[in-house]
């Protein structure tokens, strides 16, 4: 049966095909149909672990119309849909640039939000079991879970236009939270009429739910501070307890992806865009289909921002019932599956570009107007989630990252083992006992889901963050370790 890929063969790439620019920057020369070179930011060890599908995907993205500077891969890059996960591509609408589903993904605006508690590890530890139970009870998670908010189509439209601002206006969270969310909590280009009725219906009961897979809510403490100055600006200190939430736009985002997969497949044919992989289906930014898709993506982003805002409210409720003196305040909220319009310097020109970040965290350098005033002089907070039982990092955007990667950094550890391999290797209940032995409380709705997310199934997040730091994409500020983790 020729032509059918029977199994996902993963072969490591041939490092000799890359030109080493520095110890952490590797270039794939622009050959054949490639309009720009490929650029991989990683240590030699991480480059050697990359599978050749990632290399193919970097090359395919480099062939897309209107791409600027380079097709970029982050240190945690792995095989994705069209773009690698950990892929960045910038497109200029004035040069026929496109917007592609493959560069955004199904979980639109999946991201991380971190909140300070104003408490230390010592303060929280005695209440940890009770707090974990409370969070597990109030934050809906897992397959088939429903939120407490019930909306109709008109109300969903308000969510899609208003993002986190909608949530705050309904009493979920504080007005000052909004300052510390990208775009002040709302994307302006959203048009709910470009989101299907099915997508909206799927969200009626899902606002304020965590989802499953690699999504989580964690209570963490600051284990190590690398940059005292920036940490102070972000309000972080050693042993401080923070809460992080990792989730996205839920079923609405998935359905936007599904709906536009079809629209963009038609558009790719209509505009005769040569794509070497059908997962790269796309439309010119400056076309009716491209504009429609972008406005739907913005609506999806608002859905994710509203979702994380409602979850933050639930976190505050849980804390207030157990530790009333905790003061939950926002550190930052940043997404890693998006397409955003930003100004960047290419050559010597300032251009307005559509930056696709698929599994890559925005990491704007110091001085950018998008950064909250308080943080502006030190760069945007970059929140990198680890895996349950390991650790997560907080970094800051840099000038180097702006110049070389459109202000982008890694987003997490990246999988090393498939879910099936992970389930064969670990049993959910044994894994949870093992983590409990290390003092980490896990509350999970699905044992097998937990096994799939075993820390050993991921690449070492520390190696990924070191490479990000050493490549200059973002600067290490602090490392946090989990105390308790709520999973779907």
């Amino acid at each position: 049966m020729t032509g059918i890929p029977l199994e996902c063969k993963v072969r490591n790439m041939d490092i000799k095909s890359l030109k080493k620019i520095t110890d952490y920057i590797w270039e794939m020369p622009a050959e054949g149909e490639m309009r720009v070179p490929g650029r991989i930011f990683a240590s030699e060890a991480l480059v050697e672990e990359l599978d050749d599908n990632v290399v193919k995907q970097i090359r395919n993205v480099a062939c897309l119309p209107g791409i600027q500077m380079a097709s970029i891969a982050m240190p945690d890059a792995h095989w994705g849909y069209g773009f690698p996960i950990g892929g960045v591509g910038a497109f200029d609408p004035n040069e026929g640039g496109i917007i592609s589903m493959g560069g955004i993904g199904f979980d639109i605006s999946c991201g991380v939000r971190t909140m300070r508690t104003g408490m230390t590890r010592e303060d929280i530890q005695p209440h940890l079991e009770k707090l974990s139970d409370r969070l597990f009870a109030v934050v809906p998670a897992g397959l088939g879970s429903e939120g407490k908010i019930r909306l109709n189509e008109q109300q969903i439209d308000d969510v899609l236009s208003g993002g986190a601002r909608w949530a705050v206006s309904k009493g979920y969270g504080l007005k000052e939270d909004l300052m510390y969310i990208e775009e002040g909590g709302v994307m302006s280009g959203a048009d709910p009429s470009n989101v299907s009725s099915i997508a909206k219906q799927r969200q009626f009961r899902e606002v304020g739910t965590l989802g499953s897979g690699n999504h989580y809510l964690e209570i963490q403490y600051v284990e190590e501070v690398y940059d005292e100055h920036i940490a102070a600006v972000y309000g972080l200190y050693k042993d401080e307890v923070v809460v992080s939430v990792h989730c996205g736009s839920r079923a609405l985002g998935h359905q936007i992806g599904t709906d536009y997969l079809k629209t963009l497949a038609e558009a790719s044919r209509k505009y005769n865009i040569a794509i070497s992989d059908r997962e790269l289906v796309c439309a010119p930014i400056d076309s009716p289909e491209g504009r429609k898709y972008f406005s739907a993506v913005c609506a999806g982003i608002n859905c994710a921002l509203a979702n994380r805002q409602v979850i933050s409210h639930l976190v505050r409720e849980a804390f207030s019932g157990v530790i009333p003196k905790a003061r939950i305040s926002m550190l930052y909220d940043v997404s890693h599956n998006t397409c955003k319009v930003e100004e960047h310097i290419v050559g010597n020109k300032t251009k307005r570009l559509y930056i696709h970040r698929k599994g890559s965290t925005r990491a704007l350098g110091p001085g950018r107007k998008e950064i909250p005033e308080e943080y502006r002089s030190v760069g945007q907070p970059v929140l990198i989630g680890g895996t349950m039982g390991t650790c997560s990092y907080i970094l800051a955007g840099t000038e180097t990252g702006m110049a070389h990667a459109f202000g982008s950094a890694c987003h997490g550890a990246g999988r090393a083992l498939s879910r099936t391999q992970a389930k064969k290797k670990w049993r959910g209940d044994a894994l949870l006992r093992d983590l409990a032995g290390k003092g980490i409380i896990i509350r999970a709705h699905s044992y097998s889901g937990a096994a799939e997310e075993a820390p050993g199934a991921y690449k070492d997040v520390t190696a990924v963050v070191e490479a990000t730091h050493n490549a200059g994409l973002a600067k290490k500020v602090a490392m946090v370790k989990p105390m308790a983790c709520i999973k779907g």
Partner: protein, 146 residues
């Protein structure tokens, strides 16, 4: 590799390895049966389908420019139907006429006490998507994003 239909003993659906997500595959004596079994494979990612009784049915219809795209459309329509109805499905029937698919899915409402729920499937994707036939065995497969 050569596929041969060996009757009851042959597995009709399976999942396969993918580094970040999961591959699903259905076999059949016709393309319709391969689509039906592909749907079983997808739902087996979310739930133990042997525990899902075929109590109630939902209808799905869709179209696409070719068989590959039609398979993804079928699966994605099942996902939204499952989600909106709060049901899991375990049994399927497909009829294809040209570019048109009409299908039925049997299952029951999610009962968290009885159904062992696993990982949510976000979408069926174009990755490793292939519908083909050899020696009268049809295969329909793709990667699902979880």
């Amino acid at each position: 590799m050569v596929w041969k239909w060996t009757g009851q003993s042959m597995k009709t659906y399976e999942t396969f390895e993918h580094r970040a997500d999961i591959g699903i595959r259905g076999y059949g004596r016709g393309v319709e049966e391969a689509f039906e079994n592909g749907a079983k494979a997808m739902f087996s990612v979310m739930v133990d389908i042997n525990e899902v009784k075929a109590q109630e049915s939902k209808e799905v219809s869709c179209d696409a420019p070719d068989m590959d795209y039609l398979f993804v459309e079928w699966l994605n329509n099942l996902l939204s139907t499952s989600h909106l109805s709060g049901m899991m499905f375990s049994s399927f029937k497909v009829e294809i006429n040209g570019n048109q698919l009409k299908g039925s899915a049997w299952g029951e409402h999610i009962d968290k006490g009885r159904h062992k729920l696993m990982t949510e499937v976000k979408a069926a994707t174009y990755s490793m998507l292939k519908v083909s036939e050899e020696n009268d065995v049809y295969v329909a497969q793709c990667i699902v994003d979880v």
